[in-house]
Amino acid sequence: DVKVTQSSRYLVKRTGEKVFLECVQDMDHENMFWYRQDPGLGLRLIYFSYDVKMKEKGDIPEGYSVSREKKERFSLILESASTNQTSMYLCASRAKYNEQFFGPGTRLTVL
């Protein structure tokens, strides 16, 4: 079974804090993704990576950055958290042209 794990299920941070969300996959997938999931807005792609040290902006990259130093790990960074970044964050990984597997999600609340 493919496993995509995320470092936290729930996270509460204060406005202005730097936040790190970690994602690890164990199936040697080339592609990894970060989405945010909001009611009525569906899944919106923040960033994705198709190889180590490679990254591409998704639809809503503003206020976020990412890091992929190792193939199995893809980190999402909120440089200065704001209340409008309160959301469910989903990580996913995918072998090329294959099924995409999702992590359990991190519910981030920014106060």
Binding site: F33, G42, L43, L45, G58, L90, Y97, Q100, F101
Partner: protein
């Protein structure tokens, strides 16, 4: 631009009734389409993809290129089908590949 539209946000039916979850897309190439499902407190997972032409949990979806649609159907809904359903399109451009999701639809199957 690549886009996936799920025109209805909510659908409520009684057990045993037929269901159809609508999905329309716009894509300039040859599309690859998916349905993903998220049951309560579970992670998002693949339900079916059009190239496999399978029936999963009684659900089927047919790609209609003329109508640019990929509607999900089940003749007799069950209570356990209650979930969020997302239609998605694989977008391959410039050598990188990502999924474009619709906004999702909540299906409730009442006893």
């Amino acid at each position: 631009a690549q886009r996936v539209t799920q025109p209805e946000k909510l659908l409520s039916v009684f057990k045993g009734a037929p269901v159809e979850l609508k999905c329309n897309y716009s894509y300039s190439g040859s599309p690859e389409l998916f349905w993903y499902v998220q049951y309560s407190r579970q992670r998002l997972q693949l339900l079916l993809r059009h190239i496999s032409r399978e029936s999963i949990k009684g659900f089927t979806a047919d790609l209609n290129k003329g109508e640019t649609s990929f509607h999900l159907k089940k003749p007799f809904a069950q209570e356990e089908d209650s979930a969020m359903y997302y239609c998605a399109l694989s977008d391959i451009q410039g050598g990188s590949e990502k999924l474009v999701f619709g906004k999702g639809m909540k299906l409730t199957v009442n006893p």
